[in-house]
Amino acid sequence: MSTAAPPRPTRTQAPEPSGGGSRGVRASIVLRYGVLAVLGVLFISPLVFMLVTSFKTRVEAAGIPPTWIPGDPTTQAYDSILNSDGTPVLQWFVNSMLAASAHAALVVVTAALAAYPLARMEFRGKKIVFGLIIATLFVPPVILIIPNYLIVGELQWLDSLAAVIVPTAAGAFGVFFLRQFFLSLPTELEEAAVLDGANRRQIFLRVILPLSKPALVTLALLAFLTNWNDFLWPVYVLFSPEQQTLPAGLSTLQSANNVRYDLLMAGAVIASLPVLLLYVFAQRFIIEGVSRSGLKG
């Protein structure tokens, strides 16, 4: 995680605890790093153990006591799940990639288009439309599961990737998130563009979108992550082994290999690697996006 963000100069920091002399300061520094390091180990060691176990033999994975370095490192677990008929993990990986990418693109395009008039234009019904969209932010998604299953069935999308790409793109978060961002942009550039004779479409494409790149990237990342990790919905709308996404597939893998923890950990590693890599490289966008979403609540 070398992409740590620099401290933001625009925001204020709580003052360092002062007084108590240098010994007190040093003790508090040691205490702080001690606490942080212990927490850090608690957070990371399960992930390390997952990775380690995926390279163990079947016997060692279930061995007592647990080992942190595989005695006989092997890729057997990966070999046996990647192309197995009942649990085609490679196919699931492709499905998840396609679904999450398509979903992220759909969310960013529709949300950006919708957020622009809500942030910058006056039109009849604006209050109602925006109010309705905001209201659904507070509606628990459980209410939509049953009817959406039937609607997706009517569209002939059951057991296909469309079922996990499209319906969840109707969520209000993206519109809300981008509207807030557009509102924070200065209007001078748009005014200058109008003087140059630009119309709405040109302003949107040539002024608003270029200025909003960080927000668009953040939204795309969050949408990708959410879709990649979605669990309940794919479990119920995808049935065939070859149609699963990785999270739903992991559930199948677990049922098929109850205590084959070498196989399960290999599956879990495959399901987490892309998002962890994304996180390592785009950590700042993801964390900033999440923290900003809280301040607008």
């Binding site: 995680m1 401290p7 933001r8 204020t12 920091q13 709580a14 003052p15 702080r32 942080l36 927490l39 399960p46 992930l47 007592i64 647990p66 395009v109 919708a114 008039p117 809500l118 234009m121 006056e122 039109f123 659904t136 628990p140 998604p141 459980v142 209410i143 939509l144 009817p147 959406n148 299953y149 039937l150 609607i151 319906p167 109707a170 005014e191 109008v194 119309n199 709405r200 979108l209 668009l216 990790n229 309940l232 479990v235 119920y236 992991l250 923890y261 399960l264 599956g267 399901a271 998002v275 962890l276 996180y279 950590q283 964390i287 999440v290 923290s291 979403s293 809280g294 301040l295 609540g297």
Partner: protein, 328 residues
Amino acid sequence: MSTSAAERGAAGDATRIDEAALGQPSLPGSGRAARGRADNRAAYLFLAPYLVLFLAFVIAPAVYGFWISLHDYDYTLPGKPFVGVDNYLKLIDPDSVTFDNFWSGMRATGIFVLLSVPLLLVVPLVVALVMNSRFRGRNFFRALYFAPYVLGVAVVAVLWRFLLDANIGLVNQYLGAVGLPDGVAWLTDTPAAWAALVGVTVWWTLGFNAVIYLAGLQDIPAELYEAAKVDGANKWQSFRNVTLPGLRPVLAFVTMVTIIASANMFGQSYLMTRGAPGTETRTAIYFIADTGLRSFQMGDAAAMSYVLTVVLILLSVVVFWLFRERNA
């Protein structure tokens, strides 16, 4: 980027504007009638793609679900007779089978919310307070604690089912190594299963709440802390009188989001405990999904999802009310 979609969405003369309309974007009726109409058309062209999704997969199902709940809606049968509020009455009739299952699910959801929400509000706040000052490695630790959150519930639950395995799991091995009981049935017995489900959820989502808190803490002006210090406030007093009030909107948001997330707990229970022992850890949403989408009793399931939704909305109102601005 799909500029083509954008262009299609906003094509035509309808998008033409003049400077007056843009110069005063917040003044309704600032233009002549003709321009007003043009703006209406342009605005709805921009909105159209999203509104299609929104109507099809949010508004329509919210209404359709209620209609389903008024029918004996078995997906696999041709006839779906209207039964009025029967599906709702079943939920308050102690003699019906659904009654037991539904309220046992609501009980599981309630237990999980009660156990997890306080921890998910307090522990991340402590972490955020520790992180809320300038020190070397701050962003590194922040990234570390947030890491589990980018994994999905499926990975988290499959991983922890392994670590919590009663016989070969890491947790029991290490508990035994330090002389603690090493035979706890984390996944098949309560209350251990609740501890496991809550603990795993805290591990998974702590970073999410902490990051939101941290952003809130950084928006509290440093001058307020300095003023408190000038007034002779100690650390606890400045926490009570500066930090907590400054954090109020963020606390309200985090509380709301956390309650809703915990009330929707599904994957942990589905993959780690399978509802065991018996159906004790089978949450309401788990039972609703199974009833509607495995047994295809969609009328029952829709009615239950409406009841759960109403409960959650009432809970949200209470949270709003608790965190309201108190001026008087």
